[in-house]
């Protein structure tokens, strides 16, 4: 967990707590609610405090899913450093967190209002004291205004709910919320995307109902009359109301509905977001090249007008021929210097499988299936160019963004791009087996050849670690140990079996670069991040003239 993500959660929770307490005490202590509280007790505050938290969170919930808008914001914050940008990347996690809060607060709000309705009902039927009776009898006629929204003595709490705007909208939006939540459970979301996606659109019903939920203004407070009606004084003089000067008949009014003020902004932003996605979807995407790589990996090289990317970013792809609704993210494997962008797609699920089979069945030279592209998204991993010496560690599928990074570094080096400070790269590739990553091995070989041609063979040092080796692999190696290239992937430098000995690796880097600043970048599991950051600390010399290791918690 990066500290900026933690910061966001802390700030968010602090605001929630503040809102809850502020509004709780506003309703529990405010004089204008004295009479209301006489009937409802603290259930009033217990209903209104969550309402405030709900307003805040309903405002927030739409924002993290506006990925295009977030990209735009991120663009303008480039100069402000990575922290802000990383926050914006945790979008779905934040969306879920806010959703849980909405669920929880809805529960508290609903329960408190159930109690309120019941108390109002009892009060109307005279089950409480005289003051309650008197207050509940106040009607909306002549020169009186009602406090108790239950005007009839023959209704029931359930009937009230279904004959009031607040009640009907409350039930409808709570139901929508429950259906959204049950269909968003991981089991459903991952397996039956259509159910999840269609049901989630109930959020439109949710927001529509939410905005008119308070229109009935049934939560009432005492208004200022002339002359004033002092509740503390007049509460024991019910019979004198309207007869003595100090106690005119108390007047009540409901609060102006405020929810729309909180949510109208995000609602407009979200509409813009969907519009933007649709526009991008309609933009033509042409295929420059389609290649089927070893192990059925599909490489798509695409071209789209005005598309600009940075290293390590990803795009969402949509293929109407497979599914109208599904958008799937893929890290780009091309460098920004190239005049196209590419993705390498492995068969990992239904959608990817179908795409690969469609492409395999394409006749020679035919155009690929229509594709919609949204993006690019993700933090641009620009820091990687700032270090004289870079240690890049890619584990498993985490190796994919490094295709983009390594290519970009090489392009920049060839063009003597001043942005590039890197003079030496150590690349560590960890995987259980190289199956489905032969294309990456080919890329490494290609870069290696190009570098040797220019006499820069020492620019890139790479090692492959097969962490899932078994006896048959070892047998194979023993028979062919004399071959110059490694048999598994054909890489010049030998494949190593098992996990890297990081102490040895860091020692080697330090020995070969006694005075440099080394940046370490990882795309892989969090455990490895802990290991590497510890090694960076361990091998950084106290002497500022000697080697320094910096671990970048960049999550590609």
């Amino acid at each position: 967990m990066t500290s900026s993500w933690l910061d966001l959660q802390v700030v968010w929770m602090a605001i929630n707590i503040f809102l809850f307490l502020w509004f709780y005490f506003f309703y529990d202590l405010g004089d204008q609610f004295f009479y209301t509280r006489h009937i409802l007790g603290s259930a009033l505050a217990w209903a209104r405090a969550p309402a405030a938290v709900l307003n805040f969170n309903c405002l927030l919930i739409l924002l993290p899913v506006c990925r295009n808008l977030l990209s735009l914001i991120r663009g303008s914050f480039m100069c402000c450093g990575r922290t802000m940008r990383k926050q914006l990347d945790k979008n779905i996690s934040f969306h879920k967190l806010v959703a849980y809060m909405i669920g929880l607060m809805t529960a508290v709000h609903t329960i408190a209002h159930f109690l309120n309705v019941e108390w109002y009902y009892n009060s109307r039927l005279g089950k409480y004291d005289d003051l309650s009776m008197a207050l509940s009898s106040l009607d909306d006629s002549g020169n009186t205004t009602f406090l108790n929204p239950i005007r009839s003595t023959t209704t029931t709490p359930t009937l009230l709910v279904f004959t009031s705007v607040a009640g009907i909208t409350g039930v409808i939006i709570t139901l929508s919320l429950i259906l959204i939540i049950t269909s968003s459970m991981e089991v459903i979301r991952r397996s039956y995307f259509e159910v999840f996606w269609f049901t989630h659109h109930l959020f439109i019903v949710f927001f529509a109902g939410l905005v008119i939920h308070g229109a009935g203004r049934i939560v009432r407070s005492q208004t200022t009359t002339n002359p004033l009606h002092n509740a503390t004084f007049c509460k024991d003089r019910i019979d004198d109301w309207g007869k003595i000067q100090e106690c005119p008949v108390p007047q009540f009014a409901g609060g102006f509905p405020q929810t729309w003020m909180w949510v109208i902004g995000p609602m407009i932003l979200y509409v813009c977001e969907r519009l933007l996605r649709f526009i991008r979807y309609m933009q033509t995407v042409k295929y420059r090249k389609i290649v089927i790589r070893p192990s059925k990996v599909l490489e798509l090289q695409l071209v789209k007008n005005g598309f600009k990317m940075d290293v390590g970013q990803y795009v969402f792809l949509n293929c109407p021929a497979i599914s109208q609704l599904e958008w799937h993210p893929f890290t780009m494997t091309s460098a920004p210097e190239e005049d196209f962008f590419s993705v390498h797609i492995r068969s990992v699920g239904d959608w990817t499988q179908k795409l690969i089979s469609i492409v395999e069945q394409l006749p020679e030279g035919a155009e690929g299936p229509k594709m919609g592209v949204d993006g690019p998204f993700g933090t641009a991993s620009e820091d990687v160019f700032d270090y004289e010496v870079a240690m890049l560690v890619g584990a498993g599928i985490g190796v994919t963004p490094f295709a983009s990074i390594l290519k970009s570094i090489w392009y920049k080096f060839k063009d003597s791009n001043p942005k590039l400070r890197t003079r030496k790269i150590y690349f560590y590739w960890l995987c259980r087996e190289t199956h489905a990553f032969e294309w990456f091995a080919d890329l490494l070989q290609l870069l290696e050849r190009e570098m040797e041609e220019r006499g820069m063979g020492s620019f890139l040092t790479y090692k492959l670690y097969l962490t899932g080796w078994d006896q048959s692999h070892a047998n194979h190696v023993m028979v062919h140990a004399d071959a110059d290239t490694d048999v598994v992937t054909g890489l010049k430098q030998k494949t190593n079996y098992g996990r890297p000995n990081w102490d040895k690796e860091f020692e080697q880097v330090r020995k070969e670069n006694p005075t440099s600043v080394v940046g370490t970048f990882l795309c892989g599991p969090a455990v490895l991040a802990t290991v590497l950051s510890k090694k960076c600390v361990k091998y950084t010399d106290v002497d500022p003239r000697k080697t320094k290791f910096y671990f970048n918690k960049e999550n590609f």
Partner: protein
Amino acid sequence: NGKIEWAMWANEQALAAGLILLTGGIVGVAGQFRDREFAAYSIAAGVFVCLLEYPRGKRNKGTSVERTGQYCFTVCVKSFGPLTRNYYVRAFLHAAICVPGGFILAAVLGCVCLGIASLIYLAAAIRGEQWEPILPWKESARKPVGESIKLPPQNPPPRPPAEMRRKRAEDLEAAAYVNPIAVTANDD
């Protein structure tokens, strides 16, 4: 997959409904609402539905994910045989259970949620889905350690068959081989 197993969603919805019925019932009883008999019923109904729906059924395609500690519930539910296996039964059961909940405000939400779950179960039943228990993994499901480590080698090391290795008198050219190290006469 992508083919919807409606029962999976019906199950989530029904479990949620059970919890909502339970909560509504507790509020009704604790708040001493009028008609609190219905609230008490709501508690009982909520608990029953939760117990019935807690154990997830086995999926037709794909991996089934168990809920924490659901094994004992699975055994319980399994013991009712066709009553719990058949989704038509569940659909009608939930429809019947939810009705009394509609009588008090505190249980109305739970009632409607359970009604919706009932409809989804009906859809599942029409599509022929059934509840199958998720039973514990057998040890063989784990990828076995390479057998070759345990047994002595069954096959000789990889090399071409003997006939190909044998030097052929008919083909002297191919039969000759180059010495890896230069062969010199013994000088001393």
